[in-house]
């Protein structure tokens, strides 16, 4: 994380000396372990998605519809697990593996909705529902527009 440095040179020196001392005692996240667990968790979620997709295809639905139904099912399951209070335990172990897939997005919407229900349906649940997911949506839409313009400039319309 960031650090502030004083404008007074003497104080700045003291802060820098302290910050390097403190660093020695700060345990680092276990990157290899975290990445492995993220790989397993993310992979398991993707596998579940593929199983659902094949299942819907097996029921005779077309590819587009099966894909949409698979996404809807995963979002529903993540919402359910969040409401039951289990998704945070998965997230603690899985890290990015459970945050990046569509299920993580569902969790980021449902968790504040559940949490802020106590402050009422309007100012609580509805207003706070997008506190975590909001920035993702905003910058997702902005990037989509930028990429769309770039594509138009490079390959033209159509």
């Amino acid at each position: 994380m960031g650090i502030n440095r004083s404008s007074d040179p003497q104080k700045r020196q003291a802060q820098m000396t302290y910050q390097s001392l403190a660093k020695k005692h700060q345990p680092k996240p276990r990157l290899a372990r975290n990445m492995f667990l993220a790989f397993l968790t993310g992979g398991a979620i993707s596998l579940l998605g593929q199983i659902l997709f094949n299942l819907y295809r097996g029921l005779g639905l077309n590819e587009g519809l099966s894909g949409s139904l698979m996404a809807v099912t995963l979002v529903f399951l993540a919402g359910l697990l969040t409401a039951l209070g289990w998704y945070d335990a998965i997230g603690r172990i899985g890290g990015a593996g459970s945050a990046i897939p569509i299920t993580g997005f569902a969790n980021s919407v449902v968790s504040p909705a559940v949490e802020f229900r106590q402050e009422g349906m309007v100012l609580g649940m509805a207003a706070r529902m997008f506190t975590v997911a909001g920035p993702v949506i905003v910058y997702g839409v902005v990037s989509a527009v930028v990429v769309g313009i770039l594509r138009w400039l490079v390959v033209g319309a159509g």
């Binding site: 502030n4 001392l21 968790s111 975590v132």
Partner: protein, 338 residues
């Protein structure tokens, strides 16, 4: 010159106030921890029979004060003052808890150092002859603190190994004029000065607070001309494992060795290997419950004779963090002797 003042930051008490009673309430996770058997009451869940976590924290603090007074056979009318605080905006746990107790009240905020703050101010007021009977209390609640400072509880985030877990708990102690009753006495206190070494990581409050703890401990020992081994135990509330290690090294650099007699409430309250709390506990209620449930009993039982209780607080808010400010921190020290 104030006659009770020693050095720059320390006061000594002429007629040391006595801590006559304590009462502690802890949350379910804390109840399963190493101090589980010592809390006066353990909550079955985070709601404590209420509809919101804030209401649960208010009830927890109110019950601690009420049970404390009941154990001392005191009515609210016989109590001169309550000094209490918590972590929530506008100090709502303390203020709302006192809404149903007709006792003069002053709310305090020093983040996790709030309980030490209440102890030392209470001792000053008692020794100064302004009041006879004071309640010092503090609370924190995992869920109310998480939603104010961090994320919704059910959001699946991975915690950093330097992070601390807010303790669900409240502790209340009764201070009375010295000589009135037996019990451990508050003999001296050192008031902290705000420190800021430029750290900004709210998931590593221990590193931010260590300089404040080291500065206050150093000031305390130097103001009173004491060696660190004067105390059986120097206990912080709550540096947790990262901040404790840094504090020990900072003090060692000043030739003050606390390697063998310093610990932390945030480490005592959890089993760090088993409880999944990263660096340890934090929150105004952590040091308050550990003092009221454990340290006080050790003093009364004679297992501890001289204790230096050092409350440490990170004084940031979510707004200052989002605006890129570093974390100012403070530590207050209270000497308690059996």
């Amino acid at each position: 010159m104030a006659e009770h003042k020693r050095g720059r930051q320390t006061v000594v008490f002429r007629n040391p106030p006595v801590i006559t009673h304590t009462f502690s309430i802890a949350g379910p996770k804390e109840g399963r921890g190493p101090l589980g058997g010592k809390f006066h009451r353990v909550l079955p869940d985070l709601y404590y029979g209420e509809k919101s976590w804030e209401k649960a924290e208010i009830k927890m603090l109110r019950d601690s004060i009420q049970e404390l007074l009941a154990s001392a056979n005191l009515s609210p009318g016989q109590t001169d003052l309550v000094l209490a605080g918590d972590l929530l905006n506008q100090n709502i746990a303390a203020s709302f808890a006192l809404r149903e107790l007709p006792i003069p009240f002053v709310g305090l905020f020093n983040a996790c150092a709030t309980f030490a703050d209440a102890l030392l101010l209470g001792a000053m007021l008692v020794d100064g002859g302004y009041v006879d009977t004071v309640v010092a209390a503090a609370s924190s609640h995992y869920a109310t603190a998480e939603r104010q400072y961090r994320y919704p509880l059910e959001l699946g985030v991975q915690r950093r190994p330097t992070a601390q877990r807010t303790v669900t708990g409240s502790g209340a102690v009764l201070l009375q004029t010295g000589g009135k009753a037996p019990g451990p006495k508050i003999t001296a206190a050192t008031l902290g000065i705000v420190q800021d070494m430029g750290l900004k990581d709210v998931n590593d409050m221990g590193s931010a607070m260590a300089p404040a703890a080291a500065a206050t401990i150093e000031a305390h020992l130097s103001d009173l001309g004491r060696k660190p081994d004067y105390y059986d135990l120097i206990v912080s509330g709550d540096l947790a494992s990262v901040g404790l290690a840094i504090t020990k090294e900072l003090l060692q650099q000043k030739q003050i060795s606390v390697q063998n007699n310093m610990s932390c409430c945030g480490i005592m309250i959890y089993d760090l290997a088993r409880d999944g709390v990263e660096a340890g506990g934090s929150g105004a209620g952590c040091s308050a419950t550990v003092f009221a449930a454990h340290l006080y009993r050790e003093l009364v039982a004679g297992n501890l004779h001289k204790l230096l209780f050092v409350g440490t607080g990170s004084l940031h808010s979510p707004t200052t963090y989002q605006q890129g400010e570093s974390i100012p921190t403070i530590a207050h020290a209270v000497a308690v002797e059996a």
